[in-house]
């Protein structure tokens, strides 16, 4: 009997020799590494690389090392679907990260949901991504959570009474940022003097800005990506508009200080991550990243780095059997309970509801850091995490 068990065990071990003795946990990465979205996808990949080299360097997970299978989805829907299928069915990954853009996630995440594989987005912020199903996770904080805090703090500190709004109306990200600003402005009862729009690829914002100037607001709310947002700020300063700007997540990038050098002051943005955040975990991440990449990290690298550690947390609690379907399911069941404190601060999941009203995937619960630009850098104005722990509670 005893012998039989041993023999059986040995047989199983031999049967899985090829996969188990190599002791690799395969994780797929589908990000935009070329094309326009590569400016986000490349730092994301570097964040994963850094986390994996740290984890494998310190012995892996229960003795097993992580192997990344990296594919380029080019920031395109069709390509994201192809790459997802390859990673899931051909490479047989345990879990996959990506894709870079919300647009692509809408198209490709249902593939992972259908195959019952966890898909983990680190940069998808549009509404509705996690309503696709219960295998869809993300640690990217949505603008719906960040924008109201940013606006409230900016209003408190600058004493603004009325604002003008400028946003890109032909891009899903900047448009949904505008919708969130609109909701938050209504909630705070801040009147809007004028709402102006621009289109992707526009280079001249002076007509809109001139109109904004003549409507006499106290601040300008700007929902734009850095490519249009930075020139808009420069041109507004050229027109003599010295008002504060309040930006969405798209404006939280150190690129601003290249593209709007010396015209970048007085922009308010909110994010769970700041390069200026002095928390120990963040400082450790920044110096490790700098050492590995010889460049400063951005929010996208930080979120990818943290995402890997969130998954590792869950993996430590899962007993891998070598049966792909079982392991994929077990990892999904373990993931919602994962909690870490990483470069982007304290993190845990919150279940989202699907289109049918039933529980679906998982969104991030994180605290916001509100920053203002000054002298070509971000200066922290409020860190929810530390202000809550502080002795004087805020209203």
């Amino acid at each position: 009997m005893q012998l039989g068990r041993v023999l059986f065990g040995a047989l199983v071990a031999i049967g899985y020799f090829s996969s188990l003795s190599l002791a690799q946990i395969k994780i797929g990465v589908a990000e935009a590494l070329t094309g326009n979205a590569a400016q986000y996808g490349v730092p994301i990949r570097k964040g994963f690389d850094l986390a994996v080299s740290e984890i494998n360097g310190s012995g892996g997970i229960n003795g097993q090392k992580i192997e990344l299978v990296i594919e380029d989805e080019q920031g395109k829907k069709e390509e994201a679907i192809n790459v997802f299928k390859k990673l899931i069915f051909q490479d047989k990954v345990l879990l996959l990260f990506g894709p870079t853009l919300s647009n692509s996630a809408q198209a490709s995440d249902p593939v992972a949901q259908g195959a019952k594989v966890v898909v983990f987005g680190t940069s998808n912020t549009a509404d509705g991504i996690t309503s696709i199903g219960n295998f869809v996770f993300r640690n990217s904080v949505t603008e719906a959570d960040i924008v109201p805090v940013t606006l409230k703090i900016a209003a408190q500190k600058t004493g603004l009474k009325k604002v003008a709004v400028l946003y890109g109306n032909d891009d899903i990200f900047t448009k949904s940022g505008y919708d969130n600003f609109k909701k938050a402005l209504e909630a705070l009862k801040i009147p809007v003097t004028t709402t102006e729009t621009f289109a992707k690829g526009d280079v001249d914002f002076k007509p809109q800005l001139t109109k904004i100037k003549s409507s006499n607001p106290d601040a300008v709310v700007l929902s734009a990506l850095i490519a249009e947002g930075a020139p808009a700020m420069v041109q507004s300063r050229q027109l003599g508009i010295t008002l504060p700007f309040i930006g969405g997540n798209g404006m939280n990038s150190p690129k601003l200080f290249d593209l709007a050098k010396d015209n970048s002051d007085n922009l308010w943005v909110g994010s769970p991550w700041s390069i200026e955040n002095p928390a120990a975990e963040n400082k450790r991440f920044i110096s490790a990243y700098q050492k590995a990449q010889n460049a400063l990290p951005d929010q996208f690298a930080a979120q990818a780095y943290d995402a890997m550690y969130i998954v590792v947390q869950a993996l430590k609690k899962v007993k891998l059997t070598g049966k792909l379907e079982v392991d994929r399911g077990a990892l999904r069941d373990a993931l919602p309970a994962a909690q870490i404190t990483g470069a982007t601060g304290a993190f845990k999941f919150r279940q989202a509801t699907g289109k049918d009203g039933k529980p679906a995937g998982y969104d991030a619960v994180q605290t916001a850091i509100v920053m203002m630009t000054k002298g070509n850098q971000y200066v922290i104005q409020l860190n929810e995490a530390t202000s809550r722990a502080g002795s004087t509670p805020r209203p």
Binding site: G35, N36, A38, Q39, N169, E196, T197, F198, A199, G201, D202, V203, D204, K206, P207, Q208, T210, K211, K213, S214, I226, A227, A230, P231, V234, Q235, Q238, L239, G240, K255, D258, L259, A260, K261, D262, N263
Partner: protein, 293 residues
């Protein structure tokens, strides 16, 4: 506000006119819709940017570098694309399709070399500082763009109307066969036109990159769409038309933002364009069934 919007309109119009000059020249003489003009524009901007960032050259020298590189590109464009197609008497859509291919290759090459993200020139006094007249703000750069658009148009017109070479060029635009019979160096003139048009595109690229603070591989695309509209409005191939069309489009865009609303900008601007073309299908300066240089 009205005065400022007028200044905005004229400087935006100058930008469009500057872009359209080279575009219309190639059409007028070579009878080619050069869809690579946007890529030349981008090439000029990147050349100057690299000259400033990498070789640390002053801006004036960087502009010269951009002129040299885009002129060279223009020479190659005619030597390896337009000339072989002319020699084979390809239908007139063939060179247009070839220029689409060239534009894609140039964009991809630049993106491969320098990345997809936005770059900009280091800040300098020219673009940042300016004049203040009452409520109106105008930067030196905007003034230069407006003046340069007029100056280049004047020089081109003088060259076409008053010099022997210009006369030859106009004869060529009128009829290639007749020009060849008169002993005009047809091939040489074609090549020269391609060179001049391309370097005009390159100079426009540098100035507009300075004006808008944005250099990226696809920067020529939106400009190309507007450029085509400007050239059709002005009358295909007409130099004065390119300038006037540019200012018209600039004004239409700015004033639709100012008085109708920014969401309606393109609808109003292109609606007006459509209305004008209904009244004058040949464009403002075009003459029906006749080509001009």
């Amino acid at each position: 506000m009205h005065a400022q919007q007028l200044v905005n309109a004229i400087s935006l119009g100058g930008v469009y006119a500057l872009f359209a000059l080279g575009f219309t020249l190639i059409f007028g003489v070579l009878n080619v819709v050069n869809l690579a003009h946007g890529a030349m524009f981008m090439l000029g901007a990147y050349t100057a940017l690299q000259a400033v960032l990498f070789f640390k050259l002053p801006l004036a020298v960087a502009v010269l570098a951009a002129i040299v590189v885009t002129a060279g590109a223009g020479w190659l464009l005619d030597r390896f694309i337009f000339a072989p197609l002319r020699a084979r008497q390809a239908p007139h859509l063939a060179p247009m399709i070839a220029t689409i291919g060239l534009a894609i290759s140039l964009n991809s090459t630049i993106q491969g070399l320098f990345g997809a993200e936005n770059l900009r020139f280091p800040v300098h006094g020219l673009a940042a500082e300016g004049l203040r007249l009452g409520d109106v703000q105008i930067t030196w750069l905007e003034l230069q763009i407006i003046l340069l658009a007029f100056l280049l148009m004047a020089v081109l017109l003088w060259w076409l109307m008053r010099t022997r070479m210009g006369t030859a060029l106009r004869a060529l635009a009128e009829s290639r066969k007749a020009a060849a019979l008169l002993g005009i160096d047809v091939e040489g003139l074609f090549r020269l036109t391609s060179v001049i048009a391309s370097l005009l595109g390159g100079v426009a690229g540098v100035l507009i990159a300075l004006y808008t603070n944005a250099v990226f591989p696809q920067m020529g695309q939106p400009m190309l769409h507007k450029g085509i509209a400007v050239v059709i409005l002005g009358g295909m191939g007409d130099i004065r038309g390119a300038l006037l069309g540019g200012f018209f489009l600039g004004c239409a865009e700015v004033f639709s933002v100012a008085y109708v609303g920014s969401t309606m900008r393109d609808a109003v601007a292109f609606g007006l364009l459509f209305a004008i073309l209904l009244l004058r299908p040949q464009g403002l300066f075009g003459k029906a069934a006749q080509r001009r240089a």
